[in-house]
């Protein structure tokens, strides 16, 4: 994780990661009964996640990349050795960090999102998955 302080005093964090986007969901059937759905992730590409006080951006040179306000993020969770972010437009991005801890990023993202919600007067976040919920 790289930490940088801008001229205006705000702090920005970034890290390199293998970035993959959900491309489909498939049904899981067993003995003729639908058990549920699982996501299919597309190919991973090297990219970067960058966060500051207000936004998170994912850059991997592909169409899904972009920048979102923390208030737009739908869910945050660590999945095994990756971090998953649910984004507007029913998009899901998975970041597998190269030499960093998904737990550390999960804590950082959750703290920034909590601060953004409280700063916007939207209450205290009580749950970050399956969707961000305030209490």
């Amino acid at each position: 994780m790289t930490r940088a302080t801008r001229d205006d005093g705000t702090v920005r964090y970034s890290a390199r990661a293998e970035v993959s986007w959900r491309v489909a969901e498939q049904a899981v059937w067993y003995r003729g009964v639908l058990r549920g759905f699982v996501e299919t992730m597309g190919p991973a590409a090297p990219g970067t996640i960058t966060v500051d006080r207000d936004t998170v951006s994912v850059e991997d040179g592909r169409a899904g990349a972009g920048r979102w306000r923390h208030l737009e993020v739908r869910a945050v969770q660590a999945a095994s050795r990756s971090l998953q972010l649910s984004l507007p437009g029913d998009r899901l991005v998975q970041l597998r960090f190269l030499g960093d801890s998904p737990r550390r990023w999960e804590i950082l993202m959750r703290r920034l999102i909590s601060d953004a919600y409280e700063g916007a007067g939207r209450g205290r976040v009580v749950e970050f998955q399956p969707r961000i919920t305030t209490g």
Binding site: E25, V28, Y30, R31, G32, V33, L34, R35, G36, F37, V38, E39, T40, M41, R74, A75, Q77, A78, A79, S80, Q84, S86, D90, L92, S101, R103, R104, I107, V126, E127, Q129, P130, R131, T133
Partner: protein, 218 residues
Amino acid sequence: MTGAWYPFFRVTLKWVGLALTRAKISGVAHIPRKGPFLLVANHESILDPFLVQGNCPRTTHFFAKSTQFTANAVFGWFLPRVAAIPARRYRVDPQSVRTALRALERGDGVGIYLEGERSWEGELQPFRRGSIRLILGAGVPVVPCCVSGSYDAWPRWTRSRWRAPVHLRYGEPLEFGVHDTRAAREAALEACAERLAGALRELRVEPPPRPWPTGGGA
């Protein structure tokens, strides 16, 4: 609808789990002999499913994170055969709840790791509110189950396994009644979560002092 593989794999899980942990098991008699039930457990380690599901004598459909089903072809084949229910954690997943309720209607058990993921620090984490709503809506006996020491044997943040005393204890079934309206479930949410956390803490066996500073997951 679990097929012939389930009993085979359940016994396999049980013996693999016991071989890996030498866990001390108690309270299996608390699991109802017939009828639907919910088995709710804490989640400290990847070892937990071997112990909790392997030692439960009834067919129990456990929620499992959806990414496990696509981790590789072996998991994709294996998990439905041990009655795992894929749960998408990045969105509300009504299909996983429907599958669980159907299993209860058939008289099977449904297993939930209430924290929704393995603990990073070996301590009980806040429970998923969706899981508590399912418990309140289902209105079936709830068997608490606490795994103690599996975090010390194989914490989430390492690939190394250590030798540590592991205990698995099933508790007496709890009744929460049927809360068939959303308002009723929301009103009972906090009290239900507190009661379940209390039941799990009562079953917990405190591990010996850890050889590493706590909070090492970050």
